[in-house]
């Protein structure tokens, strides 16, 4: 007990030093993250190159200021994953980028890692369930839909071919002369029709049919 008394001051000093160090690091971290929102980015394959507004980032959590961000995940042999997200205060985002294999080697790799693909898909689905407005967040165009005027009608429905449940299909009901006008309207809203599966009601492709 006497021995402990002898080192009491030393123990206090060491404690104060450790506390000061931790407090300083904590303060710096809080300062660095102040006003920022967390974006959790993961990709499959895990060694894919992920960029946030063309700036390479590591998989995991990144802190960004609120705004719109373009996320791209790339890997040789796989189709690029691209998504634009709106990050707002109190609205952290989680993106699980599943890259679709294109080359033979990539397809082989995907087959060998099908369990990981299944896990990733389950993870993505559970995230979708935890956020009812996820589809709307992922497809801000839905705020404009349905849209109807005298010439055409634009609506949407969930994309039944998408396992993650995040994608939508844009449906356009227009006569031949006004299909391009409906596409122009989508551009006018600031969205790129390329990002969606678009179906035209009562239309058959005359070249491929």
């Amino acid at each position: 007990m006497e021995g402990l008394q002898q080192y009491r001051k030393l123990i206090i000093i060491i404690g104060v030093v450790i506390f000061t160090g931790l407090f300083t690091l904590l303060s710096i971290t809080i300062f660095y993250r102040s006003g920022k929102v967390s974006v959790s980015l993961n990709a499959l394959p895990s060694d894919s190159i992920i960029t946030l507004n063309d700036v390479p980032v590591k998989p995991g959590t990144t802190y960004v200021t609120p705004g719109t961000y373009k996320i791209v995940a790339k890997k040789n042999g796989f189709a690029d994953f691209q998504r634009t997200i709106a990050v707002g205060e109190g609205n952290p985002a989680t993106i699980n980028a599943t890259l679709i294999p294109v080359s033979e080697d990539a397809k082989k790799w995907a087959l060998e890692h099908k369990d990981e693909y299944a896990d990733f898909s389950i993870l993505d689905k559970s995230l979708a369930k935890t956020k009812d407005n996820r589809a709307a967040n992922d497809n801000p165009i839905t705020e404009k839909l349905p849209y109807k005027n005298l010439l055409y009608n634009i609506t949407y429905r969930p994309d039944e071919t998408d396992q993650s449940g995040n994608r939508i299909v844009i449906e356009i009901d227009a006569s031949r002369a006004y299909r391009s006008a409906a596409l122009f309207q989508i551009r006018k809203w600031g969205y790129d029709p390329t990002d969606y599966r678009i179906e035209f009601r009562g239309y058959t492709n005359p070249i491929t049919s």
Binding site: I28, R176, L183, Y196, I198, N205, P206, I207
Partner: protein
């Protein structure tokens, strides 16, 4: 007395440790020099690496792939070459350490490929889709990247300003020296349906009109 000296020593050491921690935290991005590799995927390309300062001092001029040891800081490189339009890319050391430089060809060079490549492409499309030969016009399209991607618009011969018909977009890719249609002809090409085609190509051809494609192909003033 000895105790006081001991305490002072410990406190001094502790302060040094805390300061070192803070300095280390803030100085992480500006650590030592870093090896940065530049892989030139094309020959006849020059890469000038410069410091991103007001002086823009040239650090190196590369004509072949090379790894350089660069001190931490901001840089940019300028790629120039016969077939390409000059382009600039900013980077930071030590954050960015690997670059594969494979620039796209310039629009004027790509446009010069039309004459030699388009007849084979049109023939392929007419063979692949028999209906095109009878009722449609394949317009001169647009090459992308290093000329291995081509996209064009197919229009209906019956189309007039008063009675417009749908226009169809299609993308082709040159594989092992042969052109292959990698999409079907569609009014709007979807990146979801055709994930193997670069998004920017799909987006660009979806935006294009017959007139804008004709303007792109007529770039004599740029050459």
């Amino acid at each position: 007395m000895k105790k006081i000296a001991l305490y002072i020593g410990i406190i001094t050491l502790a302060i040094i440790v805390v300061i070192a921690l803070i300095v280390q935290f803030f100085s992480q991005p500006e650590q030592k020099a870093q090896a940065v590799s530049f892989t030139l995927a094309q020959s006849h390309v020059n890469v000038s690496i410069r410091q991103d300062t007001s002086e823009a001092r040239e650090v190196a001029l590369l004509t072949e792939s090379k790894a350089l040891t660069l001190p931490s800081g901001k840089y940019y490189y300028v790629v120039t070459g016969e077939r390409i339009a000059p382009s600039t890319v900013k980077f930071t050391v030590p954050n960015d350490t690997q670059f594969t430089i494979d620039p796209d060809y310039s629009s004027s060079y790509l446009a010069s490929l039309l004459e030699s490549e388009v007849p084979a492409i049109d023939q392929l499309l007419e063979t692949r889709y028999a209906k095109i030969a009878n009722g449609y016009v394949i317009h001169p399209g647009k090459f992308y990247r290093q000329g291995q991607w081509y996209a064009t618009i197919i229009s209906d011969r019956r189309s007039t300003n008063e009675d417009p018909y749908d226009e169809y977009r299609i993308v082709l890719n040159k594989q092992n020296g042969n052109w292959v249609a990698v999409t079907t002809p569609e009014i709007s090409l979807s990146a979801v349906t055709f994930p193997g085609v670069p998004h920017e190509i799909l987006s660009d051809i979806n935006k294009a009109t017959i007139e804008s494609l004709a303007d792109w192909g007529n770039q004599d003033s740029l050459r």
